[in-house]
Amino acid sequence: MKKIFKVLTVMCFMGVLVIISCKKGLKDETFSVYDSSKLTNPENGNQAVIGAYAALKDNGGYGYYAGFLYWLYEYPVDVVTTTITSRQGIQLDQLTYDASNSVINDVWVSIFKMISRTNEAEELINGIDYAAKGSTNALKLQNLGEIRFLRALAYYDATSLWGDVPLILKSSAHFTEADQNPTLTKQADVEAAMVADLEYAAANLPDSYASNEVARATNGAAKALLARLYMRQGQWQKAADMASQVMGKGYDLRTKAEGGLASMFNTNNRSDNEFIFVLKSSNEAGAYGINSNSFGINSTPWDLNRGYGNFPIHLQFYALFDKNDDRRNTLLTGSYKTLYGQIVNVPKEYGGLGGSAPDTVLAKYVYNLKYPAVNNYNYAGFNNVTILRYADVLMMRAEALNEINGPNAESINLVNQIRTRSNLPGLALTGFTKETLRDAIFDERNKEFFMEGRRREDLIRWGKSASNGATPLLKFKQKVVPLLRDQTTYSDAVNYQFYPYPQNEIQSNTSLSPSVNAGRVK
């Protein structure tokens, strides 16, 4: 018995020693170096916010919302196609892209640049005592709201394109070694962070700004983006409620009397109250490459006004429209006189005027006129790039209400506001089922929002709704495959909902391996 006590005592003693030595060995002193901030005035906070807005166009020209994002959103789906001149674009258009596609990489980098800027701005603004330095705490909260809105927008795009992405919500000053090589965060967790950001933004952003600050995010913008997120998640009631909160905030549709949709996209009308949040660009000489976008030059064809015609639209899309639809007749090149004197017409079988040589050339594609390049033969386009507009809010509410309870008068009324503005008769409630109204809404959305970056997500959401979540790519496949040059390109083994993570990221981020792209590329 005594022996056992001795043994136990020795064991305990040794155990404590082991623990002590373990503890010393486990936690060693850490050493880090960083620069202290000397940006301590409210004006520095404002500069950081403006810098974060500027990230929307990255380096201008083609960056992020100034161009490449729309390549990822528009090329793979059924409206916009591409010409044979751009290999990266063709890969996206024909679903032959892989992880080394440079546009995928560009957008990834742009998105995380904007996230980084917002994180740094948040850190900076939090460290500035606005009230003590002659400004107000309300402005501080607004500035924080603005950058949190922008961060949520960046994560919205990131999760739309890749699903799970690294979630980084802090300044690099607080990075640990693990943060240098971030792992992928589940999309649901990223979305929870976005909801927190957007709720904060909605609570702290104003309804509107002075006319010289119209490009800034409003609480309406935060709520509209939140509604869009809830739509993507299938949280219909929340989406419907959020959309209704944007209504009655001073936004309205540009009416037919005001010139209709075409006049809203006119470059002389860049602050219409149908716009909720847009990428603003400048037409000033020095804006090229910094404060410009490339939509104008890329949208129209050469023989119309020396555009590059990089967003040709399938004639099949033109054929979807009613011949009285203003959107077809004012926002697509159904018929135009070329620089060389010929008339280009859409063939009759696609609803166009048709005609024959030598006076008339039959169009192979049509082109959008939402980004007119007026007297502006360079990349310094100053078109608004629509990110959120009021028509989308109305259509979201209509769709959400239909998903909740099937067709009702309010949904029909909301859709009809969009239709009648474009010279179309309204729909009647009778005869619609939930399914047929859903299809009508998506068809209407297609005609309303073409070349505004919405179609890809719409097809996926439509597929989910139509299959009760079972086959998200149902509609994508149905609409996209018939237009592929080689229909065997489409593979059921690939989840086209999500793009592959860029090769550059996999190579530089030690937390990622090539296996993350399994099922995302052929």
Partner: protein, 473 residues
């Protein structure tokens, strides 16, 4: 046998609990373990190339300081001491530019002491001020005592700076400003009090009063037009023994100068004295215009923009002010509170002087460590600059020079500058025109000579600049 199993299980459970607590909880473990340094963050300060902050976290409350040294050197320097905290911010405040340093954090609490691993930092070049001070020569006889000395001066052009140099002329501390730093004063609190103002404000004048500690923190910042500071200050800014701040001010008054050919409402600009308490409350003000009649100056129309030109102010042990008037070649004693002019000393003054004792355009008039009146006699009438000390008998209105150190003609300065006793029996000079800092012996032999890359206003020793080795309790 069962009992044994119970005991064993009990022991294992206790061990497990202990292990859990020790690994998880610093509160528990801090009672058992000695002080441990957990993290060290070196903070570069982008607006200062010589200064660093180091944030250190320990496992429990303790005192901390840094010791640091130039790599491959034996001279150890110390940061300030931070006490009774888990997290400490320590300041590295004495370095030279473009040099690699090694530092170690020392932490302690009673007998329980520890030190960190050695870490590195490197200083950058100081773009606005290198090379600005250049050691020309040093006499071997004073090299040893000069080694521990540091000197405060200023860059009064824009961008300005408070500057502390070592005996080799290396800048070891600086604090930059967009405006010029016109005047600096090393305070008893080991801070730097200065007049800051745009270059275009004349007469070493400025519109801001700034006091900065060695860590670079502004402990006081007043601006003209805010609070009770309603006039520009110039030439002098000091603490008195009651911790009040006194300075020279610019004053102006409308005067009828028709008798001498001026306007009925003419403006005469002259000087005053102001005393503030540390909270910025104005305690006392005095103006020369209450004590001199401009009409008695036959050249007042020429002088009215800067009449008589006060250029130094010093509060004597009796609490009254010594004010130096360059254009009068006089020093006045002004009674504090009543404002009465007690006496005038110098040319045409109340004290008879020998011919060689008269001074001209003098600067930096003060009472030195030996209780004598001391000044830099710029000597604008002779072209020879000197340091002079006087034994004053104020009651009998007699004065006798006790020391006259005459500098070679090469070191003549028409304006600015100062001369102070240094190290007992030597003289420390700042000479503006020849752009020199000197140390001489009583006979005027130059022992130390620094060339300056700009126009210095003053130079003074900064005793206590170097942090002594901190003592941890």
């Amino acid at each position: 046998m069962r009992k044994i199993y119970k005991i064993i299980i009990g022991c294992v459970a206790a061990l497990g609990l202990l292990l859990f607590l020790l690994l998880q909880n610093d509160l528990v473990s801090s009672y058992i373990y000695p002080i441990k340094i957990k993290s060290i963050q070196l903070i570069n300060l982008p607006d200062n190339r010589l200064r660093f902050k180091v944030r250190v976290t320990a496992n429990k409350k303790c005192s901390m300081y840094l010791k640091y040294w130039i790599r491959n050197s034996n001279d150890t320097l110390y940061s300030d001491l931070s006490t009774d905290s888990v997290t400490h911010t320590l300041n590295v405040m004495c370095t030279v530019a473009k040099t690699n340093y090694t530092f170690v954090v020392m932490a302690g609490n009673g007998a329980d002491t520890t030190s960190s691993n050695p870490h590195q930092f490197a200083t950058q070049s100081i773009y606005q001020a290198t090379p600005y001070f250049d050691l020309q020569s040093i006499d071997p006889s004073i090299e040893k005592e000069m080694k521990g000395k540091y000197f405060l001066t200023q860059i009064l052009t824009q961008p300005g700076s408070m500057v502390i140099i070592n005996y080799k002329g290396d800048i070891v501390w600086y604090q930059p400003f967009k405006k010029g730093v016109k005047v600096t004063n090393w305070t008893p609190h080991h801070t730097i009090l200065s007049i800051v103002g745009a270059e275009k404000i004349p007469s070493s004048g400025g519109d801001e009063i700034v006091e900065t500690n060695l860590a670079g923190k502004e402990v006081l910042h007043w601006r003209v037009g805010k609070g009770e500071m309603d006039k520009l200050v110039h030439h002098e800014l000091r603490y008195d023994n009651d911790n009040n701040i006194y300075a020279l001010t610019f004053d102006k008054r409308v005067w009828d100068l028709t008798k001498v050919g001026g306007l009925a409402k003419d403006t005469v600009h002259a000087d005053g004295i102001v005393v503030f308490n540390r909270l910025g409350h104005k305690l006392w003000e005095w103006s020369v215009l209450d004590h001199l009649d401009p009409l008695k100056d036959p050249l007042i129309l020429k002088h009215k923009k800067d009449w008589v030109h006060a250029n130094s102010l010093f509060k004597d042990k009796d609490g009254n002010f010594l004010i130096s008037y360059r254009d009068l070649n006089q020093v006045w004693k002004v009674e504090y509170k009543t404002g009465k002019v007690l006496w005038k000393f110098g040319e045409g003054g109340d004290f008879p002087l020998q011919k060689n004792e008269y001074f001209a355009s003098q600067h930096a008039v003060h009472i030195n460590a030996k209780g004598q009146l001391m000044m830099l006699d710029n000597g604008t009438k002779t072209g020879i600059t000197r340091a002079i000390t006087f034994d004053m008998n104020e009651a009998a209105k007699t004065a006798k020079s006790t020391l006259i150190v005459t500098l070679p003609h090469d070191y003549y300065t028409t304006a600015k500058g100062d001369a102070h006793l240094f190290d007992g029996d030597k003289i420390l000079f700042c000479l503006t025109d020849p752009r020199s800092f000197l140390v001489t012996d009583k006979g005027g032999k130059i022992l130390w000579d620094i060339k300056v890359g700009g126009d210095p206003y003053r130079l003074e020793e900064a005793p206590g600049f170097l942090m002594p080795k901190p003592v941890m309790k």
